[in-house]
Symmetry: C2
Subunit: 202 residues, 2 copies
Amino acid sequence: MRKRLGILLSGRGSNFEAIARNVIAGVLDAEIAVVISNRESAQGLATARSLGLKAIALPSKGTEREAFDTQLVELLRRHEVDLVVLAGYMRLLSPIFIRAFPQRILNIHPSLLPAFPGLDAQHQAFEYGVKVSGCTVHFVDEQLDNGPILRQAAVPVLPHDTADSLSARILEQEHRVYSEAIRIVLSGRYRIEGRRVVVEES
Amino acid sequence: MRKRLGILLSGRGSNFEAIARNVIAGVLDAEIAVVISNRESAQGLATARSLGLKAIALPSKGTEREAFDTQLVELLRRHEVDLVVLAGYMRLLSPIFIRAFPQRILNIHPSLLPAFPGLDAQHQAFEYGVKVSGCTVHFVDEQLDNGPILRQAAVPVLPHDTADSLSARILEQEHRVYSEAIRIVLSGRYRIEGRRVVVEES
């Protein structure tokens, strides 16, 4: 049976869209069971509906974090989700959520972690003056931008770059590596040693 | 007139050797004015002599840091050095030294800074589980592994890597990018904006 993805987003969801297109094209053998946004106005929900996917708004505003995350866990369980994929989900997950899906939550971050965790990673990197940045797909644990790393892609900073042109170049790589990382996790062909993800080659 | 490099090392000096070979091959338009080691037994000194270069041991053991660095500055000035190149120099430089050669000291570090500063960067990166590491050539300022970055090279971490095989792959890139960074500085075709080094294309 195809593994079921639950997507969480808060905005445009361009990484969600790249994953959805890989699923539709048969490049990624999985099913998108549900797309959930904590913001009703998120463009990603409209995209999901236009692709014929189940899209649910679960507004987080005014709800206490643990109570909200409990609802979210229930919703994902009801949709029998095997893997939770964060795609621009702009809310910190509580331990309740993280413990409900141990090593079953992925996130993507627009820098080569552990460099430039937190918000606006591309701008941080640009202002720091690195000549190489990139993106990172990692398991989510209880610390911000910290879990074991599945995939990274390096992206050069070019002489005429602005923070925006760098962000756009990083985004292209995000769209590529997120599906690769999902494929690794769904295949089960990896082990975690310390905090290293060792991918077993087929 | 060819610009004069002063090399500081403490051990094998493989980065020094790569630079020297580029100078000899005419790939790097510069002259190695002097090679100085704070350890008499450093293999890099023997290499320098075998290449017909001036090699000086200035033992640091037992000498107070400021006094030692004052001697070192004098020695480099006597050799009319335009640029100081650290090649495995295992001693922190004092502000006396750094202020004597403002933006005229380069170092190479075996990680993609700002990730994994300090000792054993390759092992730190390996144990952290990054999928991309690399090396960084930067100006030296008064903070460790902190100055503006001239060049970085990304190096993939492969499934069967050990910390040692990763170190070896990073070292190959170090040997390439250090000469590139020296060439940029000697050409003067760059400016520093904030902490970004912007290289002006020819």
